[in-house]
């Protein structure tokens, strides 16, 4: 894993007459877990979409190190994304899904990697023939994480990761995020849950109506009350 910074440079995104993002400038460092919070319609999912290269910004650019991620196809090798939907093939089993993605990302020693990854996300005991269609929501989320981590990306992106998980799953995810942060990965998550954000992040970004309303980093993490105050401050009308 390299130690490159992710830099958002004056990104704007318009959908017809709707301005989803306005002049967003941010910087993310490896070893940081950033939570992007904000009210509905603030542009959080759009920003994540742009960071993942799935959505093109109307103006502005995103740099990973020196490369512009939208211009360089190989930048995708450094990005892992877990969205609302698991992004796996329901007719294939967990192993088959991961084998496909291992091949797409040209991962060496794929079988060992896959076995290790399945163990790590807690799917090691699942029958190897069971299609993903038969998985529970929590199991699918774990498989999605395995898919996103398989190619050892520098950047991990999550869109509302704990929304479909039970309390056990939420705790498991928090542990995973902590582990990734310690491993030096750059993690960005979009979430509504301020307490969860406080629990896992050391960088908080508040978006409001497409603009950055607050951008604070605390290497040792936040207390839940701090995040709430930050959030309310940022959203208060001046």
């Amino acid at each position: 894993m390299s130690q490159r910074h992710l830099r958002v440079a004056r990104v704007c995104k318009n959908f017809g007459r709707q301005r989803a993002l306005v002049d967003v400038t941010l910087q993310f460092a490896s070893g940081e877990v950033t939570s992007i919070v904000g009210p509905n319609g603030a542009g959080k999912t759009t920003l994540l979409g742009i960071l993942s290269t799935l959505v093109r910004p109307t103006t502005g650019e995103i740099f990973l190190g020196e490369e512009s991620i939208h211009k360089d196809r190989t930048a995708r090798q450094s990005i892992g994304y877990v969205g609302h939907e698991p992004g796996v093939y329901p007719d294939l089993s967990a192993q088959q899904n991961l084998r496909l993605f291992a091949a797409l990302y040209a991962i060496p020693d794929a079988e060992a990697c896959i076995a290790g990854m399945l163990e790590r996300v807690g799917l090691g005991g699942v029958h190897h023939d069971l299609p993903a269609r038969a998985f529970s929501r929590g199991m699918l989320q774990r498989l999605a994480l395995a898919r996103a981590l398989l190619h050892n990306p520098d950047i991990l992106l999550f869109d509302e990761p704990s929304s479909a998980l039970d309390p056990v799953g939420v705790r498991w995810l928090a542990d995973e995020l902590d582990r990734e942060r310690k491993a030096g990965r750059l993690v960005i998550l979009v979430t509504h849950d301020l307490d969860a954000a406080a629990q896992v992040s050391n960088h908080i970004v508040v978006l409001r109506r497409g603009r950055v309303a607050a951008d604070t980093t605390k290497p040792d993490g936040f207390a839940p009350a701090e995040v709430r105050t930050l959030y309310e401050e940022a959203l208060r009308d001046r």
């Binding site: 318009n14 017809g16 007459r17 301005r19 306005v22 910004p57 103006t59 109506r209 603009r211 009308d237």
Partner: protein
Amino acid sequence: MANTAPTPTEPASQSPRLLIAAAISFLLIVLACHTIADAPREITMGLVQKIFYFHVPCAWLLLLSTFVCAGGSLAFLFGGSERGDRVALSAAELGVLFGLCVLVSGPLWAKAAWGVYWQWEARLTSSLLLWLMLVAYVLARRYGGASARRLAAALSLFAAIDVPLVYFSVRFFRSIHPSNTVVSTLGPGMRGAFWLSLLAFTVLWTTLFMARMAAENAHARLVDLELRLDQAEETRT
């Protein structure tokens, strides 16, 4: 990507050009009508043959619309040109309009000439298919969902590429029927009327195209102004 999309042309500057174009168009049409009326009657078909002065220019405009649409689509799809998208839409709609004229006038003529409304003749059939593709373009724009504009753009590119393919496949398919190379068999009086009619129709197309583009440009300008208004309000609060 350009920093800001270029502001669509001020509507005020378009009005004089549009009026001039409309005026020229009107004059040419009046002139063409006179010339067509004065043109000698064709021996075998009589008055009905004069449909030809409308039918052929409309077919030419159908073809023109297809290629202008494809050109705009190319600019939109690969250059991100919003203007290209507006050009494509305007051209496609005009193509549907003039194509309809072709498909109505053609069978009327065919009935008089061959006794049947439809004969799978190469050019008429090709026109039908081309018209269907432009109708498909308009449908795709309207009902194509999130990627409607890009879907329609791809469609128009395939349609443009299809023009020679459709024509040749239908022509070889119907090789038993004689092709009608009508223009070269025109008598001297008729030739003048024909070219004038063609010019009049082309200017009409151009006028309508400009009008349609003006409407689209005005709409784009409205969107742009709304965005700027939002931004101004934001910076004030």
